[in-house]
């Protein structure tokens, strides 16, 4: 169980640009559930992920991962519990390192890093096997610099890296938003496969209502820093994008004119 309890986050407090990013957010995610998160710009989606990852501190509230209260733990200290794929393909990998060095970095997530060689024969073979699952032909390019890969390839590798070690929750931060539609589909397919195979507890932020309904078990909508809509099960199964849009408009009390949100 992952629990966000009455989370408040304020940026630039006491200044003219003070922003209340989260205003009493509550969310429980049972183990093994795949939750998709939607909301307009500034609704607090990214802030919520950053609070879970430990990049953003909270004013009040608690973050529980299983039995552990991790509210005050740094990003690196909770990395053994939280795995993450960023929106920007450049952000999730190191372009100056080789593909296998990146995999080796991910392999040590949640473990002490010692002085053993990061890439040895055994690991090389294991990495070949794992990366072949992506069907991108990268198994023969393990020694290539990460920077040589396309955005889609890098996101696929990021996803593999995030799921290589056990974690309590997988955070996907609009991880297909920077990709062209075909590549985005491919990466979403991989996501469903990895999440499904291991029954990962997952939180995926997306701009696309289509994507939010087509994937996962439950959809949550954020507005002005809190959860305003939470659908799952039967109700969600019969839902169309228009229904969701309608609810979204009702919540906001205004017409939605964000094309990206409607068509995506």
């Amino acid at each position: 169980m992952i629990r966000l309890e009455d989370i408040h986050v304020t940026f630039n407090p006491g200044t003219a640009i003070e922003t209340h990013a989260l205003t009493g957010l509550n969310l429980d995610i049972p183990t093994g559930e795949f939750v998709t998160v939607i909301g307009s710009n500034g609704a607090g989606k990214s802030t919520m992920l950053n609070v879970l990852a430990g990049e953003t501190g909270t004013d009040t509230g608690r973050v529980l991962i299983g039995e552990d209260d991790v509210t005050r733990r740094s990003t690196s200290a909770r990395a053994g519990l939280v795995a993450r794929v960023f929106q920007d393909p450049m952000a999730g990998t190191c372009e100056d390192l080789t593909i296998e060095e990146n995999l080796a970095l991910a392999c040590a997530r949640g473990h002490r890093r010692g002085l053993r060689r990061a890439v040895d024969g055994g690991r090389h073979r294991a990495f070949r096997e794992r990366i072949a699952e992506l069907n991108l032909g990268l198994e023969d390019r393990l020694g290539d610099r990460m920077g040589l890969l396309s955005g889609g390839q890098r996101q696929a590798v990021s996803l593999l890296m995030a799921t290589m070690n056990p974690m309590r929750i997988l955070l996907l931060d609009e991880h297909t938003a920077a990709l062209d539609p075909r590549t985005a589909n491919f990466v979403m397919g991989l996501t469903d496969r990895f999440v499904g195979e291991s029954g990962l507890t997952t939180l995926m932020v997306t701009h696309s209502m289509r994507q939010a309904l087509d994937h996962g078990d439950r959809t949550v909508m954020l507005h002005e820093g809190r959860v305003v809509l939470d659908v799952s099960g039967e109700e969600r199964r019969g839902m169309k994008v228009e229904d969701l849009l309608h609810m979204f408009e009702k919540v906001r009390g205004e017409e939605v004119d964000d094309d990206a949100l409607v068509l995506g």
Partner: protein
Amino acid sequence: MSQIAILGAIETGLLFGLVAIGVFLSFRILNFPDLTVDGSLPLGAAVAATLILAGVNPWLSTVAAFFAGAGAGLVTAWLNVRLRILHLLASILVMISLHTVNLRIMGRPNVALLGEPTVFSAFEGLDIPYYWLNPAVLLVVVLVTGYLITRFLGSEMGLGMRATGANPRMASAQGIHTGRMTLLGIALSNALVALAGALFAQIQGAADITMGIGTIVIGLAAVIVGEALVPPKTIVRAVIGAVIGSIIYRFAVAFALNAEFIGLQAQDLKLITAVLVVVAMVLPGLRTKRAMQRRARATPANKGGQG
């Protein structure tokens, strides 16, 4: 150039090869422009010279100098990581402070080591002339250091350090304590530079408060020259490149000073080195710009388009 001049250039080149490896760690691996080295080189010299004069074993004195340098690096990194002072400023503050510290350690602006035992005099029984012996000892030191650094950067911890410099956000997400990695890396970098200072003092028979001026520029010049000669596709190549760059730089200096028709004198070196670093840093950018302009001209159809 005479044989002694050539060996002298190699000797100084190898010595500053240690500095170049240190600068490579801070500037290239950690992306941390660290000027502390201008103070940690004389710090290493001061510690080693003072201890040797006090009768301490020269090997032990050299090791002490290594750790003194690590301490200086730790202070710089701590100012940056914990007190959040801009890295460049943090390193300048420590560099300036070290001037006082070095004077305090030596008790005066310079200390002579004439007739004292050094790590080099330990090999005098081998009956090899000093101009062969010194570069040979330094070669061993540089080879061992280069191997250890390369091996470290290929380890899990070393990979964590490289990720810290290349992509700190990703590094934290992977559970790497980026602050600790910065502390460790900058300490290691300055330890190597102080080691170079300790050996330098023992070779020239004196430690001097001014011997550190421009260390960072010389180290950076070596790294940049090395990158031009040996494209740093791997860590091994980058480390070898830094040492080779340092030696080539010394040869260029020796040549410029020996060629009378150029009319250069020793005091011109610092300015020339600075200009060399500027040119080396600007050139690659200019080259890409030229190539892009050429491409734009070659495809007039794209005029007004992107790029």
